[in-house]
């Protein structure tokens, strides 16, 4: 599904190297987790994959199902099936959640040559999906993320994911700011979307999200590289011993 090779990235303005050769392959239908200490480059990786401005790729490649992501605009990557659930979803006054979602769904359908979804079908689907994520229908009428709690914002991200049905989902520290109940709800939403044709890259600081979203593969990232890869037990090891041992081992 996603193949990243020797990805080197620096900040455009500061001439500071953030990613120093990331190699990562996420197979179709698999859930990969990336853990790592602050400043290791996890969020940068998610931004670069989704095409955020401000980063310069100096070396390497990122290919999703044959599409060279680095050659595509952000919206084209989304239309190809890439989705990024933000760590801090932005608040946008003046645009209702419903309008935003419908515009996004239809923009992607249009980009793929599909017919736009009718207002009725959209409403039916969004209501059903919101209900399963315990999102109040009234919240859909409110401006995007405005006045939402941390948990509501994250559930809203998962609702978008559910509506857009992407192939490759990146969750950028989705657990931050969530209490146990909210985390369970978000994880349930993600688990419901797991399928043979869909892959996940779950970026997290802690093991606790991975208690609910069982990963197939766990990577440890440090100083702009993947320094260790293993099974779910690797996350448990981090939980017990922290990153120090692993980093020392790599040094």
């Amino acid at each position: 599904m996603l193949e990243i090779k020797s990805l080197h990235v620096k900040l455009e303005e500061e001439d500071k190297q953030i990613l120093k050769g990331v190699d990562l392959t996420v197979e179709t239908g698999k859930v990969h987790a990336i853990m790592g200490p602050n400043g290791s480059g996890k969020s940068t990786l998610s931004y670069v994959l989704s095409g955020r401005e401000g980063y310069e790729v100096t070396e390497g490649s990122a290919v999703m199902e044959g599409a060279d992501l680095l050659e595509l605009e952000t919206e084209e990557r989304a239309a190809e099936g890439l989705f990024l659930a933000f760590q801090y979803p932005v608040e946008i006054p003046g645009v209702s959640n419903m309008t935003f979602l419908r515009t996004a769904v239809n923009a992607q359908r249009k980009a793929r040559g599909q017919e736009e979804m009718s207002a009725t079908d959209f409403l039916k689907e969004v209501r059903a999906k919101a209900k399963s994520l315990k999102i109040d229908a009234e919240m859909l009428k409110r401006p995007v993320n405005m006045g939402f709690s941390g948990g509501e914002k994250k559930r809203n991200e998962i609702l978008q994911m559910a509506m857009l049905e992407p192939k490759m989902c990146i969750l950028d520290e989705t657990d931050s700011g969530l209490d146990v109940d909210a985390m369970k709800l978000v994880a349930d939403g993600v688990n419901a979307l797991r399928s043979e044709g869909r892959s996940f890259l779950v970026i997290t600081h802690y093991q606790r999200l991975l208690d609910h979203i069982k990963p197939d593969v766990v990577h440890i990232m440090a100083d702009g590289r993947i320094v260790k890869t293993g099974g779910p037990e690797l996350a448990l090891e981090v939980e017990h011993n922290g990153y120090a041992d692993i980093l020392a081992e790599m040094a």
Partner: protein, 435 residues
């Protein structure tokens, strides 16, 4: 002879401008009740002269093309734009190049309404509009002179006189059309909302190559007046409009203006609270491209207790477009518990555009809550990236963010259907002008 001072030279220049303008404009035959207010306005105009760039309240907007004797030419119609408010059940009135078109208008009758054409009604000896025509304009000349309004009162060729005596269910809708390239329309409307009555006035259309309009509104105790206008078919037009409003006790006045296109638009609003517990909201949104110049100038005078005024103005500018906001809240001594709010914001879509703002508060009462703010910014890059990351194309994302920016002003409109229609109009404009 002593050399003339700079002030004297400016005053002479202003008067020369006024005389040239008067010489080029036909003077309506004045008889009946309007003769006196017209004559008084003419005297005011001659005293004041016409404005020029060196005047304090014209330093951001060059009034030359509004003051000069001849109007400049303007293209007449953009066929891509259909009539706004066309789907509303309303009483529809039409002016073509500043002349009332009876055939294209509904009959001047409506429940709870008394309507007449100025040009027909003014021949009578007495009329209800007599106590208002030119009166609010004359009051509004302080503390800032508004000679283009005085010119209007003196020379207006036509207008509508509307008196609401009850809750009027159908809005009165005035459409202005523009057929002659070098047309110069001067219209003066008077609205009187009686105690407990309610009226909605809709206006749209470009009116003329050059348009000078005055709307005088008197809202009596507990009356309510809602005003929504959309201007912006012809790009080359020049327009100056004044709203003078006087508000009685527990009355409501709400006015919203949407402007797209227009080489020069100056909208002035002069609102005066004379009765306690009244509310006035005045709002505007504009989208400008290229040589667009849009100026909102607002003066609100609180001279009563416990009144609320809100000013919400949003401007979206690009490709060198220029926006101006001048707004003042004056709270007179004794106008306690005044709640005054003023916000003017611009969204500059590129580095060539410009927004000039002069917000002012002048307060002589000690128990008031007044605030004002003005901001200028670009599209929020985080918000744009969020939209793009969901697959929304850049132009569409920008349009959505622009609509979001102006939404706060549009929300000032109470009637959600009309607000929706204006939003659709804006979206269509953005689609046509994207890129």
């Amino acid at each position: 002879m002593a050399a003339q001072s700079r002030k004297e030279i400016m005053a002479a220049d202003r008067r020369a401008l006024a005389e040239a303008r008067l010489a080029a404009t036909p003077m309506p035959a004045a008889s009946g009740w309007s003769a006196t207010p017209r004559q008084e306005a003419l005297s005011r105009l001659i005293d004041l002269g016409l404005p020029h760039r060196r005047d304090e309240y014209w330093k951001f907007t060059d009034p030359t093309t509004l003051s000069q004797p001849e109007p400049v030419k303007a293209a007449t119609f953009d066929p891509q734009e259909t009539l706004i408010f066309g789907g509303v059940d309303r009483l529809h009135l039409t002016f073509v190049d500043g002349v009332f078109d009876a055939e294209a208008s509904d009959s001047l009758e409506g429940e709870g309404l008394e309507i007449a054409r100025l040009s027909e009604a003014e021949a009578a000896d007495i009329h209800w509009a007599q106590s208002l025509y030119g009166t609010l304009e004359a009051r509004g000349q302080q503390p800032v002179a508004r000679p283009l309004a005085a010119l209007n009162t003196a020379l207006a060729s036509d207008g509508i006189l509307i008196r609401a005596t009850g809750k009027v269910s159908k809005p009165v809708h005035i459409t202005y059309l523009h057929n002659a390239e070098a047309s110069d329309a001067i219209l003066h409307h008077v609205v009187k909302v009686e105690a407990g009555a309610e009226l909605t006035l809709l206006e749209n259309g470009p009116a003329a190559a050059r348009f000078n309009k005055v709307l005088e509104v008197d809202v009596a105790d507990t009356g309510a007046f809602h005003h929504i206008r959309a201007q912006g078919r012809d790009h080359e037009r020049r327009a100056v409009s004044h709203i003078f409003a006087r508000l009685g006790e527990e009355s409501t006045f709400k006015s919203f203006t949407l402007t797209v296109n227009g080489v020069l638009t100056r909208n002035e609003a002069v609102i005066e609270f004379t009765g306690d517990d009244a509310v006035a909201h005045i709002a505007g949104a504009c989208l400008g491209d290229g040589d667009f110049h849009h100026d909102d100038t607002v003066f609100i005078t609180h001279d009563a207790v416990n009144c609320e005024s809100r000013q919400v103005f949003k401007k979206v500018l690009r490709n060198g477009a220029k926006g101006v906001f001048q707004g003042k809240i004056l709270v007179k001594e004794g106008a306690q518990k005044t709640d005054g709010y003023q916000i003017s914001q611009s969204l500059l879509l590129d580095d060539d555009s410009q927004f000039l703002a002069k917000p002012e508060l002048e307060i002589y009462a000690d128990d008031v809550a007044c605030s004002h703010g003005s901001t200028t910014g670009a599209i929020d890059e985080d918000a744009l990236f969020y939209f793009l990351s969901r697959g929304i194309p850049r132009k569409e994302a920008q349009s959505l963010l622009v609509l979001a920016f102006v939404a706060e002003a549009i929300e000032e409109i109470e009637n959600k259907d009309l607000a929706g229609e204006l939003t659709e109009r804006l979206a269509a404009w953005l689609q046509r002008h994207s890129g």
